[in-house]
Symmetry: C2
Subunit: 274 residues, 2 copies
């Protein structure tokens, strides 16, 4: 590695929510983004414009000059495209950003230096996120490249951790619970209120406090409500309200049972220890 | 009503999390708390001390002099105790604070003036909450008493709404989703991480951003992740990780399906409208 990545620059393969947020954050920390690739011209040219890079929609025209290639494509297509991307510059460092895809996805490509750069956040086009507090999980096949990735990550975030592929897969799973599933629960709550002509925003102070509690207390000790008390009257009344909404009733039943079982297990555990 | 409640004062029946937070908030806004009742002396005397009130553990010794009685007891015992409480001062105004219990729970008591005062929040002993942003839902059998309750609520909160018992029951149901269920999902996520020696706090920036999105966007339009993309590979991989945790796997399956069904329904709905 005669030249540093600061000299050679970074190619961003992808122009979706994660790629855009990451490219802008790197650009903001004075990294040079040399090129943006996307299958479609609109996102590629728009992101390239924001970070002073060239752009292409042709895999064969991906630059052969970048020191680091960050591949942020949809999980479903990512593994299939890695060989063509790695072939563009086999001596460079290649990373993907997918929580659920192992580092070994690079193994059968031309790349000899590869890894993962996984920022744990939910990215949307409409909202710019501050990278400073976002955990970034790194992994590399060579120790010196792990060092390079950690240094880059540390310019963006105060929260950088090296993890292996198995750990990262579990982090991604936990993130699906903490983000996608809770967001769906909000959607169902919004639905319940909308069907009764009540606005969703009456729930926001409650949602905010629930999250503040998760910061201060462990979520299991913060649990309240009819299920943890196993208040059968209240639960039966709620299920009655959901009579014509079997999906919500099913979710209500299963989560209430899980809350109850969990709190019983915690109690028994405490009794055993006493 | 010759005397105002400011003159006669308020009796707090209950000394649990909600009662304590409410009593302290009222006291902080210069309402006079004349008495605290609780079944057990510890909580009653401790709360009474904080708000300059007398206290009792004997239902028969509940004061006959208060202008307003706020009953904040567990849902399971509350309806059974209302007759004895109302009998202490049948001319006063009586309210309970339970989202799921209709106003009519007062109907067969000695009380002629009654209603509901329901602050929508999750209260814990360890954390003091700021009432200013908390929605307070009021209901009364007499219009002038609705006015009195609204005025009291508005001293505490900028967010006061009169709702009927049916609406309030649905608000309580939506709150169980938005608070208890999401908190349980956090618990499961914490569990997944703990079982792999990873700390829960790596999820906090993601959880915070998910909630910020719920403030800015509707939760259904904010949805991301493998289920809404219906990425079968990722979902199958996650279920594999949960092989020895059938409860979590079951919840994973049902919520992923619900996310997918919901997003398909939203798409179809849009197509129909176009």
């Amino acid at each position: 590695m005669s030249k540093s990545i600061e000299d050679t620059g970074i190619a961003l393969i992808g122009a979706g929510n994660l790629a855009s947020n990451l490219a802008k954050a790197l650009y903001g920390k004075n990294f040079r983004i040399v090129q943006v690739y996307s299958r479609t011209a609109g996102p590629a040219s728009s992101l390239a414009g924001m970070v002073g890079a060239t752009w292409t929609t042709d895999l064969q025209h991906i630059t052969g000059e970048a020191g680091l290639y960050i591949v942020a494509l949809k999980d479903a297509v990512l593994p299939g495209l890695l060989p063509a991307i790695a072939a563009r510059n086999p001596d460079a460092l290649f990373v993907h950003t997918a929580g659920s895809i192992p580092m070994d996805a690079w193994k059968d490509t031309a790349a000899s230096r590869y890894g993962v750069f996984y920022p744990l956040q939910t990215f949307s086009r409409q909202r710019e996120v501050d990278f400073a507090g976002i955990p970034v999980f790194t992994e590399a096949n060579l120790p010196e490249d792990a060092g390079i990735l950690n240094k880059i990550a540390e310019r963006l975030s105060g929260n950088v951790l090296e993890v292996n592929s198995e750990q990262r897969k579990n982090i991604h799973l936990a993130a699906v619970f903490a983000c996608n599933f809770t967001n769906h629960i909000y959607t169902l709550a919004a639905d319940i209120l909308r069907n009764r002509d009540l606005p969703f925003d009456i729930l926001l102070p409650l949602i905010d406090e629930t999250v503040r509690k998760a910061h201060d207390l462990s979520p299991e000790s913060a649990q309240t409500g009819p299920a943890v008390r196993y208040d059968k009257n209240v639960m039966a009344g709620h299920l009655e309200l959901l009579e014509s909404e079997p999906d919500k009733a099913n979710i209500y039943r299963i989560l209430s049972e899980s809350i109850h079982n969990y709190s019983e297990a915690v109690k028994n555990d405490k009794n055993l220890k006493e």
